[in-house]
Symmetry: C2
Subunit: 335 residues, 2 copies
Amino acid sequence: MGLSAHLGGGGEFELIRRFIAEDGPMPHDVLIGPGDDAAVLEGGWVISTDMAVEDVHFRRSWLTDREIGYRAAAAALSDMAAMAANPVALLLSTAAPLGGAVDLEEINAGVRAMAATVGACVIGGDVSRSPGPLMLDVVALGRAGWPVQRDGAEPGDHVWVTGSLGASAAAVHIWQSGAEPTPELRARFAVPVPRVEAARCLVEQEVVDAMIDLSDGLAGDLAHIAAASGVEITIETDRVPVDDLVVEALGPDDALDLALHGGEDYELCFVTDPDVVDVGYFAERYGLRVTRVGTVAVGDGVWLRSADGTRTEASAGGFDHWPFEPDKHPSPEAA
Amino acid sequence: MGLSAHLGGGGEFELIRRFIAEDGPMPHDVLIGPGDDAAVLEGGWVISTDMAVEDVHFRRSWLTDREIGYRAAAAALSDMAAMAANPVALLLSTAAPLGGAVDLEEINAGVRAMAATVGACVIGGDVSRSPGPLMLDVVALGRAGWPVQRDGAEPGDHVWVTGSLGASAAAVHIWQSGAEPTPELRARFAVPVPRVEAARCLVEQEVVDAMIDLSDGLAGDLAHIAAASGVEITIETDRVPVDDLVVEALGPDDALDLALHGGEDYELCFVTDPDVVDVGYFAERYGLRVTRVGTVAVGDGVWLRSADGTRTEASAGGFDHWPFEPDKHPSPEAA
């Protein structure tokens, strides 16, 4: 949920992020309020909302209408995975330009197709015309017996990620440079997989102290865990599972940069006690690739340690590095 | 919730409305799915989502930023009233243009101020820049022991409304004609009151068979009840509680037209058995004005009967008559 979207113009939105995350007195039936991937309500209901705005989160020239819906729903459902919730339902709000440029039925079909992959369905929504860009807002609802939060990381813990990183941001990077990504890279942006099943496996093993989904890039999202848990996190950069496709397309340095700061991989990043994760077991039993990428210590912030031992502070927010900066990403009026 | 917003270009969106309202198999913990003012989840949670799009639902020249937030939250909470739910929490998604034209903190303050009037608070959200109009999506969450649906109207029942109708649409009408509404009329558009307390009173009396909030105008919203209940509804036009301010500003004919077709009054329209509502009791005990405006019969559709007995079919959707038609309501590019 919000607080971490690819905004461009990050500074202006910092205020509002803090404002939304403000913790006042909550009603008794709100178990977890603002500040995590999702809120949690009495009865174990988990709820999150995610916007997808044309020319901020995607371009219509990059995606089919069906993919626009599919991707927006995947992003929303990724918040359910981050809380280890089982998705139940979505609500879909769509503001679309008139005149047939957008096929709303295809957008809906994409949302429903994504929902169906995790056993969820669409139970409501809103629809309006838009005098400007196409905008979707997808509310995800799930249930969690033991929702996993961001604030459970402790000094000595290990930091892990699922899958490989950087491919979605690489596709955007290549589009932005005027080229076309390969179909494989494009698919990583267009039809992401929310890690609902992986979250279920991790929670089943009772090893996870804190978890988040990777929407801001590894460094940016770990900053949320570090801040929420009051700890320092060090990423060992040579351990980061950079996607092979990205290394091939852009070389190892840019690939690492996109893995750390690119965003929208929708993989899971989780924190455990040391030496409790059996990598081979997860691979064999669940077909799940997990990689240890760092450690937790007393302190604050997120640090990068390279193979030669050099240690630098990672910049605070992944979104500042996202290719969708305003200058590189003109609004439709200017385009 | 959606399916009934002031779109302009109604035809193009009919498909999507039907699409959203499609009833497939629902998960066991979704008690009421698409097609009503809100969905209902196990545990009595009621959830709805409402968009407010600049230059579709409001103009920035008409409202302060705080009022934009206040009004969007009121519209979302009105869906809670329509289901007789007690509001608990809101989620707020905002897509805003960069450059300081919009004060996001004021919008948030308005949302929170509205939420506070009904004892709710903001528990999450999302934020993005918008390359076009300001857009808000407000998710309302509440709880209902006995959620009231649209499908309980039966032949012989009476149809009622709370408060008086037409003032919000009249303010828009006056703005659109290039004039300024009086402060009183303006307030009816800018700071509407969701009838949460009224819904509570009505349900306490156990008299309500079906209910909806008035966002499309009386005729348009009764069409939803008539369709959901499989009945015919006749509005006695001389009984409609047209707002005095509107009669004064625009004369009785236009005032009636706006009450029937204007929308966004956010009063409640409800259906009861005949002769169970004690108007004086509601006025005395709850300070609540309720007016009988029509009757339910075997058949379908919504009909208007005037004092001289003339009977005509009311047009299907209030939104078609709303002043925000595309031709009268140019998009920012054209303005």
